[in-house]
Each structure stands twice: as C-alpha cells, then as structure tokens.
Symmetry: C2
Subunit: 159 residues, 2 copies
DNA sequence: TGCTTGTTGAGACTGAGTCTCAAGTAGAAA
DNA sequence: TTTCTACTTGAGACTCAGTCTCAACAAGCA
C-alpha cells in the first residue's frame, strides 16, 4: 500500500491522471514481484471484468514511461514486468527448472561494466545481467518433471 | 565457407540430414554476424523463393538444438540469432542509437557470476549479459535522428 | 453549460512464430 | 530396381502477445 501511494504521488507530479482503471492495474501490479502482461490482464479482469485488455497494456506502458515498472526478457516464457519504483538496482538469477527468481546485487560487476564500455569509448546507459541455473532443490529433484515458467515467483531481495 | 563445412560435419555426427534447403539456410546464416529470423527468411527466399518460411524457422530451431546457433534477446527489436559454433564465448555491448553490436570478453565477470550462484546454492548453467549505451559517434551526433535496430550489424570480436 | 482533451472498451489488426497436413524425397531393405 | 518407411517440405491456417482505431465517455476548465 505504501508503494502504491508513493507511485500515486509520482504520477501526480508528472501530470498523469490516475483513473479508477489505472489505480486498479497499479494496485495489482505492486502486489506482485514479477508478472507477465497477460497475467496482470487476467488478474485485473477477475476483479473488474469491464477493464479492457488494451487498458492494462496502456497502463503498463504508461508506468514504464514514468519509470515505475521495468520489463525483463527472461529466456523462458514471455517478458516479465516488475515494479522497480523505490527499489534498489539488482540483477536476476533464475532456476530454469522451477522458475524461482532471485534478485542479487554485485557492485563489482557494475564496476567491470564501466571498464568494458570505457575500453570501447561507449557511454553506458543500462544493462541486463541474468544468470540461469538450477536451484539447490532442483539439482536433486527428478529432472524429468516439466519445467515451469518464471512467473509470479517468490523472490529474495538481497542487500 | 570453413565454418559451413565444420557445421556440416557436426550435423553429420548428430545424424542430422543436411538437405538443400537446410544447407542454404546455414550458408546464409554463417554469412551474417547477427540476424533476425525474419531477415534470414527474406534473405533465403531472395535466393530461392520456393523455400518456405516454416523451413527457415525449423532449420533455425534445428541449428539451435545442435548447438550451432544462439538466440539473443536485445531490448530493441525482435530476437537476434548468431552462429556461435566454433566461436569463443562473449557478451554484447550495443549502441542504442545506431544499433552497433560489439562482442566483448570479461573473465572477471564470469568469476563473479560463479561467486553469486554459489552464494545461493545454485548451479550455473548459462547467463546473458548485455550492456546498452551510446557509441563514441552517437554521443556526439544529433540525438533526434531515429534510432536504428540492432540487425545485421558489424561487430568487433575482442580477444 | 459547453468545450477541449484525455481515457476507455471493444474489437479488428499485426508480426513473429508454430502447427498441420498432404505431397515429396532420401535412404535402407528386399 | 522397386518398395517401404521415416523424414522433410511447402502452403497456409492458426496462435499468441501486443498494438491500433474509433466511437463513446469522463474530467477539468472557462
């Protein structure tokens, strides 16, 4: 709820009107850690079926432009969204078997990134850094069970 | 041509039949550094219009399974493919303005990745690490010109 | 109250990729 | 050779995620 109110403030300062539909989309989005666009559509429409799919997508795009949500292309399944507003920068580690997503910080990697771009005369704007592997449980589990996709998963935020 | 022949050998050892259509797709793919599936379809069909779109996609999937081709999700535009066979591992740095893609190697990052997964008890299988920025030329160029997409671009391979 | 502008729902549309299926082809077996 | 089987193909329908269009509606201002 706290985050919802903070985002509400932010949108106000940007002159973006927070309609009932947008508020609903935002409220549902902040409830998740990672979600896909279609999952959010389904979730929102379960609460209010009159909200159109297009409205959810439009709101997601709006929140993205406002710097509230980020889009992640994980290798498995459709793109994932995340409300990154008021959250420290982090990268992701994903279990390819169960889909668990862990957020991690590694400042030494960021330093090396700066060194790389400097080497080529680039100015760094952003990056994606994703690690794929097997979590402890999946390393010992039956490998034949079907892999899940990385949606709506619990995450650990790591300082 | 050398790479084409090497891949041909590899497919033979895997018992994969190299039909005329597949050979054409492969020959065109190795000619590129990075390409999108649709670009490859267009290119192949310019040479032989009788090759179906589905065949190009099927062959691409086949080459991917055989470990010859890798898929990259850059943030701008559709996924990029790359013939990585007999090529050293590398990550990518992309100019978001002109679409230039530079391949780089940074073993110290790889070492840190191992440290991260160890921290969480994961077994690392693969990773994606992409840096986005402005190349030297684009830092000084008119920022209003339309950004290009990262297709078919010249790359530098860095030892 | 009227005007302007922004937002919405509905649904058509798009692009990228997948699937199906009948026809064609390669290579092994007879 | 011919026959058989399994694989591969072209054509095109289909799917899925996402975008666009447009008429109706709502908010905020004068």
């Amino acid at each position: 709820m706290k985050r919802f109110i903070e985002v509400e403030q932010l949108l106000k300062t940007q002159g973006i009107r927070l309609t009932a539909q947008r508020a609903l989309v935002l409220r549902r989005a902040v409830a998740y850690l990672h979600f896909t666009a279609e999952e959010l559509v389904k979730d929102v429409r379960e609460i209010d079926a009159s909200v159109a799919r297009g409205t959810v997508y439009r709101t997601l795009a709006l929140l993205h432009r406002a710097g509230v949500v980020e889009k992640h292309d994980f290798r498995y399944g459709p793109p994932n969204y995340e409300v990154t507003f008021a959250k420290a920068h982090h990268d992701h580690l994903m279990c390819v078997q169960c889909g668990e997503i862990i957020e991690f910080q590694e400042p030494r990697v960021e330093a090396l990134q700066q060194a790389v771009v400097k080497r080529f005369g680039y100015q760094l704007l952003s990056h994606t850094h994703k690690l794929y592997g097997l979590c402890r449980a999946c390393q010992h589990a039956d490998p034949r069970r079907a892999p899940k996709h990385p949606h709506l998963h619990v995450e650990e935020v790591v300082a």
